[in-house]
């Protein structure tokens, strides 16, 4: 007996196309997200575990889960967990994002943290 409704990530047995087995080049964005996770989940820091990451990713709305890329899901989870653990507040993040957007508008060429391939 298999249960009916299941979480978006738990897709074994669902209709699907072939598995994409190609290697994907990691962008600078991907590497940064990976680095953030490794630092925050490092046992010496212990802000959260990979299990908490998974829980956060699994609780994305299905429409977001499918629309976001692999590391974009990670980033959503890192953001949620950083707020959950009190490392940063949603308001602080919002403020910083506004600052960056303004700086980018003022000087598009000289953008700190600009993503270069």
């Amino acid at each position: 007996m298999t249960t009916g409704a299941h979480s978006v990530h738990d897709l074994g047995g669902d209709p699907a196309g072939p598995v994409d087995r190609e290697e994907h080049a990691r962008t600078l964005f991907d590497q940064r997200v990976d680095a953030m996770l490794r630092l925050l989940a490092h046992p010496q820091k212990g802000y959260f575990t990979v299990d908490a990451m998974r829980r956060s990713i699994e609780s994305l709305a299905p429409v977001d889960y499918h629309a976001l890329g692999y590391y974009e899901r990670w980033l959503r989870a890192v953001r949620q967990l950083a707020i959950e653990r009190g490392l940063v507040s949603a308001a602080e993040l919002e403020q910083r994002m506004t600052q960056i957007a303004q700086a980018r508008q003022a000087s598009p060429q000289n953008m700190p943290g600009q993503d270069r391939q």
Partner: protein, 100 residues
């Protein structure tokens, strides 16, 4: 399975049913299915607790369990039968007589 019990390779088991809304590592498609223990992988903190910033202790035994795809998928199987091997924690396993 009682906590602390050790399942030997070859032991027939059945995956518990249930549909927790909380974090769970047991794939839904294996719930209620019968399999055979391949080997014990060691004891690990419970990921269902770790996921919510709790310690997850005492550690639970994790087992590699193998299933027959024909039994898992039934008439949905679209290819030659194969072995499905999954890592399943002890609290998701119960004894099964002769594995079906």
């Amino acid at each position: 399975m009682t906590p602390g019990s050790r399942l030997a390779a070859g032991t027939p088991v059945r995956v518990r049913t249930g549909d927790p809304r909380t974090h769970c590592r047991t794939p839904h498609y294996l719930r209620g299915k019968c399999g055979i223990v391949v080997r014990a992988l060691g004891d690990y903190p419970n990921p269902e607790e770790l996921a919510y910033h709790r310690p997850g202790m005492p550690a639970l035994a994790l087992y590699q369990v193998e299933f027959d795809s024909a039994q898992v998928w039934g008439d949905r199987l679209r290819e030659a039968p194969y072995r499905i091997v999954a890592d399943i924690f002890e609290h998701w396993l119960e004894p099964a007589g002769a594995a079906g």
